[in-house]
Amino acid sequence: MKALDYAAEVSAVPIGDILRRYPLAVDYLANMRLDRVDEFKTLPEILEDVDEDILEEFGLDREEVIFHFCAFLEAFSRKRDSVEAISSITILGGRDKAGRPEMVELTITPGEVVSIVGPTGSGKSRLLEDIECLAQRDTPTARQILINGSVPDLDKRFSAGGKLVAQLSQNMNFVMDLTVQEFLEMHAKSRMISGSAAVVEKCFAVANSLAGEKFTLDTKVTQLSGGQSRSLMIADTALLSSSPIILIDELENAGIDRREAVKLLVGNEKIVLMSTHDPLLALRADKRIVIRNGGIAKVIETTAEEEQTLQKIEAIDSILLDIRNQLRGGGVVAKESIPEFQEN
C-alpha cells in the first residue's frame, strides 16, 4: 500500500478506530501535540478545531498533516523485516597495512561463531567495520563482503545500514531511566512485535539464567551490575534485535555465563563474530581469524586437540566460578577449592 491509499481510510474512520488498527499512530499524534483528541471524530474533523498557528509551528497545514500521517502509517506498516534473510556472508581478502594481499576467502553461515584475535591496534575493529558497511573494495583494506554469495546491490548496502549488524561491547551501558520490564517493552514496541508480553517474559528469563546474580523485572536497568547488564544485553540482542549478524567486542568474564551466552546467540541463527582473547570464547568458536598489521594473517579452524584443551579450560573456569560464588556467599575459600595440578 502507498501512503495515499491510507488517505480514504483516515478521512472516513474515526481516529479511535485508526489508533486501534495502528497502535503506533498514537506517537505521531503525540509528536504533533495532538494527544488528547475526541476519538469519535476523524482526523480531518479534529484538525478543523486545531489552531492553524499550532500546525504552522510544525511547518504543516491541515492537508499536509493528513498526508504526513498517511506516510507515517505506510512507513510503519511495511513488512516488518526489510532485512532479508541472510544465509551467508563471505569475506574476500584485501590487503594489510604494508599492502601485502590477504589470501583469504571466508564464508560464515548463521549458527557459526568466528573469533577474531590479534594485538590491540592490529585492525580487528577495521574488519568488523568492513562487515558492517558491506565493504566493496572501497575501504582502506580493499576487502569485499558478499551476502548470500553475491555482491549486494548499492541500494541494499545503504538501506541495510545499521540494521544488518548488532554490536555488543564491554564499554556499553544502559542510559535509559527505565525498569528492566519497561526497557524490554520499549524495545519490543520498536520492533513492532506482536505478543510482546511473551517475548519480554522470555528475554527476562534468559537474561537471568545468564547472570551470576539474579535481578527482578522492576530493577532499574541503570542499577544492574556489569554482569547483569551484559546478560540483559545479550538476551535482548539474541531475542529482540532484528540484526542477523552480531559483532562482539570482548565479553567480561565476571558475573556472566559466557558459554551459555554464545550458545544462546548461535541458537537464534545469528552469525556471531567475536573479538576476544578469552581462551574459553576463542576456542569455542568454529574458526578464528588472526589479524596482524591490519590484515588477516590466517584463519585457523579449531582443532580436535584444542577442543580437548577447551574442556580443561572449562574445568579451570568452573573452579574459579565456584570460588567466586563462595566469596559472594560470604564463605571462606578453602585450599581444597583448587585441585593439585600434575607436575610433568
Partner: protein, 230 residues
Amino acid sequence: MKLITVAGPPSSGKTSVILKTIAALGLPEGSVGVVKFDSLTSFDHQRYDEQQIPNQTAFAGKICPDHHFVSNVEGAVEWGMKKGLSVLVTESAGLCNRCSPYVNGILSVCVIDNLSGVNTPRKIGPMLKYADIIVVTKGDVVSQAEREVFAFNIREVNASATVLFVNGITGQGAFMLARYWQDALDIRTLRDRKLRFTMPAAICSYCTGETLIGEMYQMGMVKRMEFDDV
C-alpha cells in the same frame, strides 16, 4: 562545489563526524573546507587547523543563530568557490530546536547523540524532520536496544531520512556518510534557493535589546501562554 549542511545540538559530535567524514572522502588536502556557524565561542577551528582543513568561523552573537546562518550562508558559498574547494561543509551549532538550517536541494545532515535520551528525536523538531541524513553518534557506549529504539524514534519523526551510526572517535560509519556526500549536488551559488522550513519568527521588543520584564515592555511578535484556571 558540493555543499553539505550539518546541524545538531551542542556537543552531539558534529565536528568529529565532519573530520572523520572528510578523512573518509580521501580528497586532496585543502579541497574540502568548513564554515562553522556558532553563537558565542567555538574552539573547533583549532581542530580543523590541525588537519589543514580550510575553515572560517562566524559568530551570531546577539543575532538569532538561524537568521545569522541564512544571511551568511551565501557568503560562505562564495568563499568556498573563491578558495577553489570541491566540497564545502557548513556546521551550525547553537541553534534552537525550532530551527532547521536546510536548503532545498542541498544535502542536509542532522547529528544527534544516543546519550541525549531516547525521546530526544521527538523533541528536536524541524532540524531532524527536514534532514536527509540523520547521523547518530556515541552509539558505542549504549546498548544495542537503546540504539534500535533511538533509531525507531527518529523514524517516527522522519520516516524518509537515512539513519547512519557514526563513531566520532574511531570514525566507524564515516565511510558510509562519505558515500552520501559524494553524491551531493554541485552548485556555484545559493542565490534564489529556498529554505526547507521557515526560520523562527522574531522581532519583538526583546530582539531589539529590551531587558525589562512586564507586559508594557512587550511589543511585536509575542506568544502568550495559557495557564489552567485556578
